[in-house]
């Protein structure tokens, strides 16, 4: 094949790749939130991560080519209490000096009917990678879409809680994660 002909094929290949990929979305950080509910001494409390990014490629009609990649700045943890946040950042819990970022990558999706979906993604936290299933709704509107859902995980599966913090009576093992992402089309 001559060089000019192969050059002509390039745009075609580009268009073909676009058709294959599900819609790429851009997360609006100001309106989006990533929160968690943990239980301390029997009492649930909420916290959030102030800094995170989500690379969302998703099409309700093409879940096979959809992909989520979320990066969470663990040092941005905010539980409305500075001392507790310092403890969370420390080496026994998130150890942000060694592992500053948690990553969640989902590539397997399931349509649960209507706007409901589920995914099994891999969460990498504190150097440990494990599957964490999530459930979410994906609702599109004129300007974009809302992706809202939750998942739960066991903190000790990821080593979040070393030494005395392995105690699950002071901090329960199960942690719920909630998210609401405002997405606009890229």
């Amino acid at each position: 094949m001559s060089r000019s002909k192969s050059l002509l094929l390039l745009p075609a290949a580009f268009i073909a790749s676009l058709a294959l990929a599900a819609t790429q979305w851009t997360m609006q950080p100001k309106q989006s939130e990533l929160t968690f509910t943990a239980v301390q001494a029997g009492a649930p409390f909420q916290g959030k991560f102030d800094t995170f990014s989500a690379d969302i490629r998703f099409d309700p009609n093409d879940i096979g080519n959809s992909r989520f990649e979320v990066k969470i700045d663990l040092a941005s943890v905010n539980s409305s209490d500075g001392e507790r946040d310092d403890t969370l950042r420390s080496s026994d819990l998130f150890a942000v000096n060694k592992w500053p970022t948690a990553t969640y990558v989902a590539e397997r999706f399931e349509h649960r009917g209507g706007t409901k979906f589920a995914a099994i993604g891999k969460l990498t936290l504190r150097g440990v990678t494990r599957e964490v299933p999530i459930e979410f709704t994906f609702e599109t509107n004129k300007s974009g879409a809302w992706l809202k859902g939750s998942g739960k995980l066991k903190r000790l599966d990821f080593g979040v809680g070393q030494g005395e913090w392995k105690d699950t009576e002071s901090v329960a093992n199960e942690v719920q994660v909630h998210y609401a992402l405002l997405l606009t089309k890229s």
Binding site: G42, P44, R84, T87
Partner: protein
Amino acid sequence: MSIQLKNTEMKYGPIAQLFHWVIVVLVVTQFVLALRADGLPRGPALVHTLALHKSVGITIFALAILRLTWRWLNPVPRMPPSSPRWQHVAARISHIALYSLLLIMPLFGWLMSSARNFPVSWFGVATLPDLIGPSEQAFDFFHEGHKLLAKVLFVLALLHIAAALKHHFIDRDDVLLRMLPWNRKRETGH
């Protein structure tokens, strides 16, 4: 002989006595837990100690409400007529202050917890709603208030004990005895 549960003009009944002494034990427990918490570094032991302190505090709060309700439904034993009027006034004021502290101290503790986003659980059985949103200023205010009130309570409790002992050993009246469950000898007045 049926058991007289209610107070008389002369003596506190067993219900009022039970409220009094259970709250005494719980308040002493609170001081012990608070002092223990002060000496602990951040960690699960501190979390446990404070959780227990909060649970006991909420218990005192609930008991104080029930106790005041019971008091309202009962006659209050008379102050000894032999004591001077200023002592009656002082006793009245200190009793009102003690009851108020049993309500205000737990409330300040609850507000402190809410202000720091550490919701209060009652022995892990029920979680109380947050009274206010997270706020460092509010936390500092209620924390300082809680500590100050603890000192006031400590001093008032000492005065209360001193007054009871004075009535018993110096005035030789029945002010102390009528709050003691094992005292039976002065029940003839009614």
